[in-house]
């Protein structure tokens, strides 16, 4: 069995990549992908912890997180679609309606 410490490390790396991507990229879809990456990094951490403690709670949480992530993607893509319909772009730099 792989040492849970390695899995935790991988999770931390993935999370950092995701966080960096979410901050720096301007394409909304890429940002969404980065958020997904962060979510899955956390899932990985859940599974690793579940394996370490021998407790199924972590697995159950991972399943819940996956389900919620699926819903989130569906909503996010729908928002981008309608955003594209209105602004002809999905670049985050050009969308700042909340300001005005």
């Amino acid at each position: 069995m792989i040492d849970p410490a390695y899995v935790s490390g991988l999770s931390a790396i993935l999370f950092t990549i995701g966080l960096w991507g979410a901050f720096s990229r301007k394409n909304a879809i890429v940002v969404l992908m980065c958020i997904e990456l962060m979510l899955n990094a956390v899932n990985l951490q859940f599974v690793a912890a579940a394996a370490l403690w021998g407790d199924v709670t972590g697995w159950v949480y991972a399943i819940f997180a996956i389900a919620i992530a699926a819903g989130e993607v569906a909503i996010g893509l729908a928002i981008f679609l309608s955003m594209y319909g209105q602004h002809e772009t999905i670049s985050l730099d050009e969308v700042d309606l909340l300001k005005h």
Binding site: V31, D96, L98
Partner: protein, 733 residues
């Protein structure tokens, strides 16, 4: 024991009709209009008939068994409910059961309900299915009809006030549906609404009463617990009286007593079988049943503690008896006369019940049970006679329609024969269009003849036995408790008034010469209709058998020990009525008989009597009466027009202005309150919401200027915020 077998099936008595309800409704929806559905099942009538027959047979079986000592039982647990008391920490579990409760009251009403429902079903097949206005919607009638019967049968068999209330409301719903059967007529829709809302006023009080009773009896509403004298003795009589008073208001609404009586005459908008059902077999008896059920409370509470309620019951009865009889004087609509007569007769029963309650509460148990028995026996007699009268009235109206159709066929292209049709000014229900039908409708005339005699209380026929009992017992109470003099006097006068309006109705319909061409073309020919009329005529005429069995004694669950056999029973009743040892009561009996048998009919003859046409002959038992009425009428010097133009008559036509006053009160109070509520809604509630909305909008506009609008910054903020929370938690830990 044979009893246990029927007890397992007893639940089927209300359940069978209840199951027939969806069957008829959905089959009707599927096969509506097909020849098989119309001819083979009579649009559902022949589905309802065996179901009602089965209920009747099961009921009779149950009654026979219960006469051999079978009593009610708990059948199964409906549901359990537990609650936790925070003060003591104890968990209480309460079990709600389904069961049946059987005593003499139950079996009497069970017989009345199942027997009349069955006969009315037979009648409906003749009445509803041959009237073109009902084409393709009779399945709705039969479905609602069986549901109505199921409500009554279930209410009678219920073993707790909870179930009584559930079935009570089921009846309320069905009465709404059936009164509004011709919903396309505005008057019918209005009448249905009125009936539903008026009884609803009573029902609100009923449920308040039930909640109070629930509190008093520590969460019990099942009869076995609340009727136990020890449990009643543990309860504060004053609170109990208040609770029962609330329930009594519910009974007033259901049984159409003053001041909640306004719905009953309008309920005539429903088809005639529905009138028979509501007035004789089910609905109005429910209120009486509820009050009669309260009897054990009065018997077990301290002496005199509940006299007030008994007096109120008797007063409501007395007032309604005389008021309804007065209004019935001037009604021209055949069914409306009967409607007011129902109100008046129910009021007699209420007065009798009030007397029974008073006697029971003041330690005269033997007299109380006889008074209760007399009141219930009057319920029985009235149900049989009134069911018959309504069906006979239906028969008259039905044949009038047909005759009208034949006479005026050429100038009517539409095939709508409804009685209150706007573009057809002929009113088939109005007695002004009838007359001289005795020879043309012999079976109907006979049924109505004996039915009216039973309601009037002509000696030896039907209601006589019970009405005399009620009047005598009420007067007996009046000598003990002076305030009973008023209701006692009212119902004594009411006896004479009954004699007048019932004779008037019969004479206007059946005696004299036909007042319209239509009436001279009436023929009695519709199948199915005469069957219940003949059966019920027989039932009315054989009431003396019940009297001979001293039914007034055992209906009150009281074994007098006097009963030695049928003949001696009859003799006992005779002696009791005609040769009473108490000279005052004896005098009263003869006054009551004189008023109802001689004075009332005599005035009716003077005003409305008349011989039949030349060549027309009525059956011998009616012929003498018609000839007598003709002779009295010819020698009468009574001025009809003075009476017709008096202000009393005018206000009687307006139903003593009750409807006007209620309407005005509704307009002033309800509409006023509604306007206030609307003001409150628009100004205060909407104002608050709008205020919150504008404040939030203003605040957000101001906050908006602080932000960048870029999604990236928001993600950053969220991340930093999370980090901050974690940092804080770390610090705390």
């Amino acid at each position: 024991m044979s009893g246990s077998i029927i007890l397992e099936y007893a639940l089927l008595i209300p359940l069978l009709p209840m199951m027939a309800f969806p069957v008829i409704l959905f089959l009707g929806k599927m096969f509506n209009g097909t020849p098989g559905w119309i001819n083979k099942t009579k649009e559902g009538g022949l589905i309802a008939l065996p179901v009602m027959g089965a209920s009747l047979i099961l009921s009779i079986w149950l009654i026979i068994d219960s006469l051999h000592g079978t009593s009610g039982t708990t059948l199964f647990t409906w549901f359990e409910s537990s609650w936790w008391d925070p003060a003591t920490g104890a968990i209480t579990t309460k079990v709600f059961n389904v069961g049946i409760y059987i005593d003499h009251l139950t079996i009497m009403l069970l017989f009345v309900a199942s027997f009349l429902c069955f006969l009315i079903n037979v009648f409906s097949i003749g009445y509803m299915n041959t009237d073109p206005i009902n084409d393709n919607r009779n399945h709705r009638f039969y479905a609602e009809f069986v549901l109505f019967c199921s409500g009554m049968l279930g209410m009678v068999l219920a073993d707790s006030f909870i179930w009584l209330f559930i079935f009570w409301e089921l009846m309320g719903l069905c009465s709404y549906l059936l009164i509004g059967f011709y919903y396309e007529r505005p008057s019918a829709a209005y009448a249905a609404k009125k009936a539903f809302l008026t009884t609803r006023v009573g029902d609100v009080f009923l449920i308040i009463g039930l909640v109070m009773l629930w509190n008093l009896f520590d969460g019990h509403l099942d009869y076995a617990y609340v009727f136990n004298p020890q449990n009643i003795a543990a309860v504060d009589a004053g609170s109990l009286q208040l609770a029962l008073g609330m329930m009594f208001i519910g009974a007033i609404g259901k049984s159409a007593q003053f001041p909640l009586h306004v719905w009953l005459p309008d309920a005539m908008e429903g088809p005639t079988p529905v009138s028979a059902l509501i007035h004789a077999a089910t609905m109005v008896n429910a209120g009486l049943y509820l009050v009669a059920r309260m009897f054990p409370f009065f018997a077990a509470t301290p002496i005199g503690s509940m006299s007030t309620l008994a007096i109120i019951i008797a007063f409501i009865g007395g007032i309604t008896a005389i008021m309804a009889a007065l209004i019935a004087f001037v009604q021209m609509d055949l069914k409306k006369v009967l409607a007011y007569s129902t109100m008046s007769q129910l009021a007699y029963i209420f007065t009798g019940l009030g007397a029974a309650m008073w006697l029971a509460n003041n330690g005269h148990m033997e007299a109380a049970t006889i008074a209760l028995g007399a009141a219930l026996f009057h319920l029985f007699n009235h149900a049989m006679a009134k069911g018959m009268l309504f069906m006979a009235a239906g028969s008259v109206i039905h044949e009038m329609h047909h005759a009208h159709h034949e006479v005026h066929h050429h100038d009517h292209s539409d095939d709508d024969h409804s009685a209150n049709d706007e573009d057809d000014d002929f009113d088939a229900q109005s007695m002004e269009n009838m007359g001289g039908l005795a020879s043309r409708m012999p079976i109907t005339a006979t049924a109505m003849f004996f039915g009216s005699m039973s309601i009037i209380g002509i000696p030896f026929i039907g209601g006589f036995w019970s009405k005399e009992g009620i009047i005598a017992k009420t007067w007996e109470v009046a000598f003990l408790e002076p305030s009973f003099f008023i209701p006692a006097l009212f119902i004594l006068c009411g006896a004479g008034m009954t004699g007048f309006y019932m004779s008037r109705m019969w004479l206007m319909t059946f005696a004299g010469k036909p007042k319209t061409e239509v009436a001279s073309h009436v023929v009695e020919k519709t199948a199915w209709i005469p069957i219940p009329l003949v059966v019920l005529t027989f039932m009315t005429l054989t009431a003396f058998i019940w009297a001979g069995l001293e039914v007034t004694g055992w209906l009150g669950d009281y074994d007098s020990g006097h009963f030695h056999g049928f003949l001696s029973g009859i003799l006992y009743e005779f002696k009791h009525i005609f040769l009473n040892h108490d000279i005052t009561l004896l005098l009263l009996t003869y006054v009551a008989i004189g008023l109802s048998m001689i004075l009332g009919p005599l005035y009716a003859m003077k005003l409305y009597g008349g011989r039949l046409e030349e060549g027309q002959k009525a059956l011998p038992w009616m012929g003498w009466f018609i000839n007598l009425s003709g002779r009295v009428n010819e020698n009468s010097d009574f001025d009809n027009s003075a009476w017709a133009n008096s202000s009393l008559t005018k206000s009687l036509h307006k139903r003593l202005h009750f409807d006007d006053v209620y309407d005005a009160a509704m307009l002033k109070i309800v509409v006023g309150c509604a306007n206030l509520a609307a003001l409150f809604d628009t100004k205060i509630i909407d104002g608050v919401i709008r205020g919150i909305e504008t404040t939030a909008q203003d605040a957000s506009t101001k906050v908006r200027s602080l932000t960048t609008g870029s999604a990236r910054d928001y993600i950053m903020m969220a991340a930093l915020g999370t980090l901050l929370i974690f940092g804080l938690l770390w610090g705390v830990a």
